[in-house]
Symmetry: C2
């Protein structure tokens, strides 16, 4: 096929011929180099609220993009805010422009239980939870076990997809092909913070980011391990609630039953917000929800069964709501991501705690807004007798109100769902289906969140998510990991998109 590889003049169909084999051959020969480049990137801490760390990641990514010929710009909302990266790779004669989106910041890593340090990447053999021997990818040659997993914060979410995208370009270049589209990359540095500055950045650089379609690389493939295209995402907003007991810890024997116990009040508050089936008990909470269309319901119904295997893998004795997983995540969600009061286990002391904290993330569906959620939740708390404040209450405020709750909201964004029948959507579906050798699964909306609505609202271009990472990657938790076969699949699919997408 080598003779056909000339720049510029190839039609999409001619360029597609043999591409899959060429990319796979390149990957086989470069596995250890790709893993090494990803591991180097993962070794730079990237917890989202550490701006200096995000800057160090941006520096590294800048160099990685420049090495592939991208024209790189750093976009930020101002001093002290985390930078995002813009990169541009033009193909003379290309008709369409696509933007590849991923984020390079990560969730906190404070949870106990990391087998290896979150920023010391380790490649380990065998399935998740099994007996995992460490693999040194820098020594030896020959193929790596495709079931091996690279463990580190952001291995999957999203540094893995970023490195897959770069490797896809390397593979195209090595095969003598040029991209079939103008490729822009937008690598966000504050996604795990809820993207507080994203809209401002997009508005400021609207012209730079003009495109026919945005391709998002965030999120996992289907739990069946099959590739999927996702046409929407839920929105998100976060809430930290603090309720108050006595001003100092009190002996539970001498003051219990009299001084209010904030852990009990917090339990009541949570039980009044949400039941054990995931139903949010706040009046009118579901009023804004835009219902699913018949086409979306049909797409959902066509998804393969994953529930029974998942329930067994996770040792679930029940599931919430009694629905299929994908039907569950079409609903708005209130997830209690953390609670804390006093001490438990070895740290338990027989005292009435001074405060209890409840940390919540909300998932929004189309029709809802973070502002609407805030309004309804706070109205509900007030109706339940809470004095709601966003400030740390002083003694006078505490003494003046029977029940005081501090409610601190983090920036959030709305959900989005793109129509399944857009020409761009059909073109992406066709290329990816061809690359994976079977009809790709189509999901109307992902349960997870991405600031897609900020892009679609600000820029007006449609968005499609083309995820590559394994579903059991522990993203946001301890021992986040990326299965190597998913990295290889990602390289092939992204190479097919960049090399043959056209409509």
């Amino acid at each position: 096929m080598g003779g056909d590889r000339r720049w510029l003049s190839l039609s999409a169909s001619v360029q597609a011929a043999g591409l899959e084999e060429d990319v796979r051959a390149w990957r086989s020969a470069n596995e250890r180099r790709v893993v090494g480049e990803l591991a180097d990137l993962l070794s730079i801490p990237n917890v989202a609220d550490d701006v200096a760390a995000i800057e160090r990641n941006a520096d590294r990514l800048d160099g990685m993009l420049a090495a592939r010929g991208f024209k790189v710009k750093r976009l930020s909302a101002g001093p002290g805010t985390p930078p995002s990266l813009f990169g541009e790779l033009r193909t003379p004669g290309a008709k369409r422009t696509i933007v590849f989106y991923a984020h390079f910041d990560g969730q906190p890593v404070d949870q106990p239980g990391w087998i290896s340090a979150p920023f010391t990447p380790e490649l380990r053999a065998g399935p998740l939870g099994g007996k995992q021997s460490k693999i040194d990818w820098t020594a030896g040659t020959g193929p790596l076990d495709p079931e091996a997993r690279l463990y580190a914060r952001s291995a999957s979410d999203d540094k893995g997809p970023i490195v897959a995208m770069l490797a896809a370009l390397d593979a195209l270049k090595a095969s003598g092909r040029k991209p079939s589209v103008n490729l822009t990359v937008f690598l966000e540095g504050e996604e795990e913070q809820g993207s507080p500055n994203l809209a401002k950045i997009l508005r400021a650089h609207k012209d730079l980011l003009k495109a026919d379609v945005w391709i998002f690389a965030d999120g996992p493939v289907h739990q069946s391990r099959r590739m999927q295209l996702v046409y929407g995402v839920r929105g998100v907003t976060g809430l930290e609630l603090t309720v108050y007991g006595p001003r100092r810890p009190l002996h539970s024997g001498h003051y219990g039953n009299w001084a209010p116990n904030p852990a009990v009040s917090a339990a009541r508050l949570v039980a009044d917000l949400r039941d054990e089936e995931g139903r949010i008990l706040v009046p009118s909470f579901y009023d804004d929800v835009r219902p699913l269309t018949a086409a979306e319901k049909a797409a959902l119904a066509a998804l393969p069964d994953v529930e029974s295997a998942l329930a067994q893998e996770l040792a679930l004795g029940r599931t919430e709501g009694g629905e299929r997983l994908m039907d569950s995540v079409m609903r708005p969600a209130l997830n209690v991501r953390g609670v804390s009061a006093g001490g438990v286990g070895e740290a338990a002391a027989n005292a009435v705690p001074t405060r209890a904290q409840v940390s919540i993330d909300f998932r929004l569906v189309p029709g809802q807004t973070p502002e609407g959620v805030r309004r309804r939740i706070e109205a509900h708390l007030k109706a339940q007798g809470w004095f709601v404040t966003d400030q740390e209450p002083d003694a006078a405020v505490l003494a003046a109100h029977p029940r005081v709750v501090k409610a601190e909201w983090s920036a959030g964004y709305a959900a989005t769902r793109t129509a399944l029948d857009l020409p761009a959507a059909r073109a992406v579906s066709k290329v990816v289906s061809a690359a994976v050798g079977e009809p790709v699964l189509e999901v109307p909306m992902l349960g997870g969140s991405l600031p897609v609505s900020i892009f679609t609202d600000t820029l007006g271009a449609p968005a499609i998510i083309v995820p590559m990472v394994n579903h059991d990657n522990n993203q946001h938790g301890v021992n986040e990991n990326l299965r190597l076969q998913n990295l290889w699949d990602g390289i092939e699919v992204y190479a097919a998109l960049f090399g043959t997408l056209d409509w």
Copy 2:
């Protein structure tokens, strides 16, 4: 009065004459020495589950008792269990034998917020919570500020009372007086663990511990700062509950609303156990409770008002149950001392947690037993649909039951209430009232717990609590402290008891 001070031949009334002034004068001259001895003792860590630390405290106390002429024995339930100390100081000719009880182990110190390290005692001026300048008691002479407080774990609970007892004996001796009673001390080394080995120790040393009355030094004086006698205590038992979510943390967007959220289940569990007024919602829970007698109700009604000042000091916008404090603590109590799941604040991650822990201490009243509480709580949990186990559940157990809770109970003991009209009780009341110059307050039962029922059940002697530490001492919490005036008062009252008690 010096000429009257001969050994042995003095009647109680003659010995009482001038005793108060003599003890006060001795104390004035020895303030810094007493504080120094206490600080040295407090600098030895004493968290209850650290047996080696408890041994080091026992070594120090052994020497302090021997220096006062006590014949000391170490009593323990066997190797690896914490020792308690027995000390005997006989007065030839004394008619009565009393036992002085205190414990020298302490609560955990893991809570954040200690101003100085818990085992680095600091004397600080001014009221609690105010601008506190550090005082060096080793430098200078003259009286220390009686409002100054010594900060350290166990300053009040109970190392302060132990040092007050020894200083009382020093003061008696310096004044040329002998004790009017045979004095036994029993210093427990495992009270903050729930006294798991105490009954065994008492049974094994029944003869050694024979006495007419036990005087307990644990617990605080009345919130009005007036001295009180306490004729009973609530019992206690502890419970650590763990409820389970998925086997690994899951992205809340992709799996929330489907994988059960253990923090929500824990909130529901707590809300079903107890309401915000302190009422325990478990069926039949109150059936075993022995009601208060008319005399006990009258004694309670005679206690001075403390509630309004306390509510202000603690910035309480409400109190539980709407009762007076002492009426509240006559009821059984369920205190949620801690809850923990996932992460809050900076540590919050958008994940479904794998488990939630709830730590509870129960306060028992006469008629209840730890076994009875356990039986009723577990029956309630089962009736609520929980599979209850005392073992860490494996995947098979979790998958087989919709709701699994691990319930780990700590050893506990029952409550006790001693009759107010016993001759020993009247004699103690008379001596203490004389020492403090006003009728001492009489409390039928303390809200806090002491293993008094184990003593009364095993040994058959009545028990009276004669507390000395300030009510606002933060015992069991951070910044535990002892107000110096309370230390001085304790020395005087204990000296009066040891020097003049007789009936």
